[in-house]
């Protein structure tokens, strides 16, 4: 097991020897150990099927929807092992944004933003709700675009707007870490650009882990990068080092476009 990955002080997330299997004996993620930095953007790159989404989804225990998936090792969020916590609590601390925008189709834009509170049975006062909605929508740069149609359904928005709404919905719960699973792969370049700028703003307040198979996206926005291949964490370093001076032959080949 190679362990010469970069050291991070005061990490928000610590992965310790994490392996994930979809069926017994076949690991989709193999012995991944890594610390993830606070208030930075960490990108997980790699070709399709390398286990990057699988790893990300383990962090907020999405795998529990599928009982066949087994997770081994430890994942510490702020020092606490999330695999031993109540999954609902974990998911509130680790917000998730998915590949395809998935606002709740029956709820208005307003209700979508505060959906996290509603679904958790937390009742808020009217002014509190309004404050959260305005702050979160401003955070994702959507406030000016939708402030006059807050009570329209979220599904009327464009794809990029919907995705920003989903980010606002995740931010509303003030998560410790924001997990993003290829959040721009279904969006056009302009919408992608907006989201990338947004992430650069958001890292002042949140720690972000983003899965992408778009190398240039990782290069543009991330502070740290992981390269995964066939379930292994091949290389993990600052984005600058990785893109200018990769240590592993496979990383070099991937980044220079020889496969992927």
């Amino acid at each position: 097991m190679e362990q010469e990955h970069i050291q991070i002080s005061n990490p928000i997330l610590q992965l310790k020897d994490v392996s994930i299997s979809y069926s017994p004996g076949k690991n989709a993620v193999k012995n991944v150990s890594a610390d993830i930095a606070r208030n930075k953007i960490t990108a997980i790159m790699g070709p399709s099927g390398c286990g990057k989404s699988t790893l990300l989804r383990a962090i907020n225990r999405m795998h529990e929807l599928y009982p066949d998936i087994k997770i081994m090792g430890e994942i510490l969020l702020d020092g606490k092992n999330i695999l031993k916590m109540n999954p609902m609590e974990v998911r509130r601390m680790a917000g998730m944004v998915f590949q395809r925008p998935n606002p709740f189709p029956t709820m208005s834009i307003f209700d979508n933003v505060v959906a996290g509170y509603k679904l958790n049975g937390i009742s808020l006062g009217k002014s509190e709700k309004e404050e959260i909605v305005e702050r979160c929508l401003t955070n994702v740069g959507l406030w000016n675009e939708v402030k006059d149609s807050l009570f329209k359904k979220g599904t009327f928005l464009s794809g990029g707007q919907q995705q920003r709404l989903c980010i606002a919905r995740a931010l509303a719960l003030k998560p410790d870490v924001l997990l993003m699973d290829e959040p721009t792969s279904a969006l056009d370049p302009i919408a992608t650009n907006r989201i990338e700028e947004l992430l650069l703003d958001l890292k002042n307040e949140f720690s972000i882990v983003i899965v992408t198979h778009n190398m240039s996206q990782a290069a543009r926005i991330s502070d740290y990068s992981m390269f995964m291949y066939l379930g292994e964490l091949v290389e993990y370093d600052t984005t600058q080092t990785m893109f200018t001076n990769p240590k592993d032959k496979r990383t070099n080949e991937y980044l220079s476009g020889q496969f992927g």
Binding site: M62, E89, F98, N102, P105, G116, K118, L119, N120, R169
Partner: protein, 287 residues
């Protein structure tokens, strides 16, 4: 070249066959509606909806003078609405719960057994369901009642609602459930506040179709609700229903003219429910 010509002709013949046979299938519906209107329109007036079924003597007198038969089918209309409403109260929660279970745990042994049994109930002759309701409700309670009728109708509605709920929930994208869970919501809240509202259109359509299906049921009601000549609001008393009245009119030579208007009413009621269901299904289609 001749083979191409031959194929074109074959293609045309096939096309006209398909068109011809499809138009043939709509003829019966229009023929039925036409026949019912032709024979039944005379009887439909205000009192048709507000008065109870006439006695055979009144009808005979009216026939003697050439008048239309007095009275209406108010007792049947109210009985049908009452029994279908109670049946819905029983069948909707049960059907939706079972449907949720089947869509959430599609492959367990219990689900497979449930699905199989639901299909069997759906395929059972309605008279058999009537007999079961007779044995389970009429006998123990000591008499025919609207409630017993409702139970038999509910048994017929449950499988329809179960399957439509299951199918609707299955069509919802998995990302919706994930979105809810990712916010830290409990499983129950995701189902109640995200999945069910998103599936509302499909669920409502299924319920309307189930209602329209049992509205015309006669056999199970003969053994349970029995029928009544007066308007009855007591659910523990024998009660009439539109299809029961049609059967009674048919059996009384003096009242036989009433079957056309009553059938027309029942057909229009059921067809409208179907049309509304179709409209809602279209409007609430899951994107």
């Amino acid at each position: 070249m001749s083979s191409l010509r031959y194929r074109t002709i074959k293609d045309k013949i096939f096309f006209y066959c398909v068109c011809g046979l499809s138009s043939l299938t709509v003829i019966p519906l229009f023929a039925i509606i036409w026949e019912l209107i032709r024979k039944g329109y005379k009887q439909i007036n205000w009192s048709f909806f507000t008065e109870t079924a006439p006695s055979t003597l009144d009808a005979m007198l009216a026939r003697g003078t050439g008048d239309i038969i007095p009275g209406g089918i108010a007792n049947g209309i109210l009985g049908t609405l009452l029994m279908v409403a109670i049946a819905s109260v029983i069948a909707i929660p049960v059907g939706i719960m079972v449907g949720i279970h089947l869509s959430e745990h599609p492959k367990t042994k219990f689900s497979n057994a449930t699905r199989f049994i639901t299909d069997l109930i759906q395929g059972s002759p309605s008279i058999v369901i009537g007999i079961i309701a007779y044995a389970w409700v009429v006998k123990p309670l000591g008499g025919y009642s609207a409630f017993a009728g409702s139970v038999s109708l509910a048994i017929m509605m449950i499988p329809l609602i179960v399957r439509s709920t299951e199918e609707t929930l299955k069509m919802l994208p998995g990302s919706l459930k994930e979105a809810g869970l990712a916010l830290g919501s409990s499983y129950t809240n995701v189902i109640l506040r995200v999945l069910l509202p998103s599936a509302f259109g499909g669920l409502f359509t299924g319920i309307l179709l189930a209602v329209s299906r049992v509205m015309g049921e006669t056999a199970p009601l003969m053994l349970t609700a029995l029928g009544s000549t007066a308007i009855n609001w007591n659910v523990m008393e024998p009660t009439s229903a539109v299809p029961l009245l049609i059967w009674e009119f048919y059996n009384d030579p003096n009242l036989i003219d009433m079957i056309w208007s009553s059938s027309l009413f029942l057909l229009i009621l059921v067809l409208s429910l179907n049309l509304i269901a179709k409209h809602i299904a279209k409007k609430w289609k899951i994107q």
